[in-house]
């Protein structure tokens, strides 16, 4: 195995493209190193992206926010700017692992690892986040939900890497939230989760909504029927019930030691209601 630590995106892309074996990007390493040690992957080349200055930045752009692929989740949590604009995305990123894991892990790594239970991914999908991908044929931009294909598989072509994740700026009367259910309060993998982003009128009527669920299908699920159930309402009981029903119906979970199919379908509806209430409360407070 070779280890490389390029200083620019162009150099990283060259290294990935020039490698005929099994090349892996190393961001925080909190998934990759665990998989290497377990013998599940045998990289021939590791491209550590943490020395690439532009990938270490969080910056405000004319459209919103640019989060470099090597920004740690601890750094996201320390960004006042992001916490104010996208509290749901930040709370999701800050749920990953322990303080120790937070000091290394990234949302781009969380996305590219393609676990169905990845915590930041439903929040990013609800937020309508865009992924900047660079590769041998230049760069492209895609929606977060288009990256994971199945557990452990992404739509990135060989030689491609994520350079950044971009979020819109935050209008007034809008906010987001993310809630997961785990059997303990820290350090566990989601049994089910929900990310919701809402934009309201000045009087509190929901204008737009995005709803995404985690850990209840092979990939993150964007549930448009659930979002439609919220639009035009002020999140009255009927709208919340409809939200829960559509989320439970859309869920396609598996049975495993963390929960049965029936349990996960039920819990994800309850979580969606709680998440919507939190996002709504935040949106009302954001005038």
């Amino acid at each position: 195995m070779h280890y490389s630590r390029p200083n620019s995106v162009a150099e990283a892309v060259n290294l990935l493209g020039g490698n005929t074996g099994n090349a892996f990007i190393l961001a925080g390493g909190s998934d990759l190193l665990v998989r290497m040690k377990g013998g599940f992957v045998e990289p021939s080349l590791i491209v550590d992206i943490k020395a690439i200055a532009e990938l270490r930045q969080i910056r405000a752009t004319d459209k919103g926010f640019w989060i470099g692929a090597a920004v740690t989740c601890a750094e996201l949590g320390e960004s006042e700017m992001l916490r104010a604009a996208w509290p749901g995305v930040v709370e999701a990123a800050n749920l990953i692992g322990s303080k120790q894991v937070q000091g290394r892990c990234t949302i781009a790594g969380n996305l590219c690892n393609a676990s169905p239970a990845a915590d930041s991914v439903p929040a990013l999908v609800a937020a309508g986040a865009r992924v900047h991908i660079v590769g041998p044929n230049g760069s492209r931009v895609t929606a977060v939900e288009d990256v994971p294909l199945s557990p452990g598989k992404t739509s990135l072509a060989p030689g491609e890497m994520v350079a950044a994740i971009e979020l819109d700026e935050r209008p007034a009367h809008a906010s987001d939230a993310y809630i997961r259910f785990i059997p303990r309060t820290e350090m566990d993998i989601a049994v089910a989760s929900a990310g919701i982003n809402l934009t309201l009128d000045a009087d509190g009527t929901i204008k737009t909504a995005r709803v995404a669920l985690g850990a209840v299908a092979p990939t993150v699920l964007r549930v448009d029927e659930a979002a439609e159930a919220l639009v035009g309402t002020k999140l009255e009981t009927a709208a919340l019930e409809r939200l829960a029903e559509t989320c439970s119906a859309a869920a396609r979970p598996i049975d495993d030691k963390r929960g049965t199919i029936a349990y996960r379908k039920s819990v994800v509806g309850v979580l969606a209601k709680r998440t919507a209430e939190l996002a709504y409360k935040r949106a009302r407070a954001n005038s």
């Binding site: 630590r5 550590d48 000091g103 820290e186």
Partner: protein
């Protein structure tokens, strides 16, 4: 050996070492540099026994490659006491009997130090959340939490 040449600063000393690309920082610290304080409990980021700081961030050294610390500042448990005088956290761990077998202790001390440097007056809940990445199979955690609370008071300069 031909390996990757890494220069770093560990507990204030400039250090250079050679390591293989797949070697973790934990292996480098223990097997190459003789710094045996950080322990391997799980090797997968779950137990925190290997906790150190890299560039001011608490990390599991079992999930960091040795090569990754090129040009970075590393802090380990060996740098915690100054000479013969123990850090308040170390003193309070002893006073409260916050350890039995001691395997988890260096990791808890590093995590607690990081916590108190960021938040000098944490609530009990904040301490428990802050230390959730560290497992102890002996003490039942309560004594550890008390020791950290007590040390926090000393470090703030309040009457102990």
């Amino acid at each position: 050996m031909n390996g990757i040449a890494v220069s770093t600063a560990i507990n204030g000393d400039d250090i250079e070492f050679l390591c293989r690309p797949e070697e973790t920082l934990l292996t480098v610290l223990r097997d190459r540099l003789g710094l045996m304080g950080a322990k391997e409990g799980c090797g997968t980021g779950d137990c925190g026994a290997c906790s150190v700081r890299v560039d001011g961030r608490l990390v599991c050294s079992c999930l960091v490659l040795g090569a990754e610390v090129q040009g970075q500042v590393v802090e380990t448990i060996e740098g915690m006491a100054s000479g013969d005088s123990l850090h308040p956290l170390q003193e309070k761990f002893l006073e409260h009997a916050a350890l039995q077998c001691g395997i988890c202790t260096p990791g808890f001390l590093m995590a607690a130090k990081d916590l108190l440097e960021r938040n000098p007056d944490p609530s009990e809940e904040e301490i428990r959340f802050g230390l959730a990445g560290n497992l102890c199979r002996c003490t039942g955690y309560d004594k550890i939490v008390r020791a950290v609370q007590d040390a926090a008071q000393v470090m703030r300069g309040d009457a102990a």
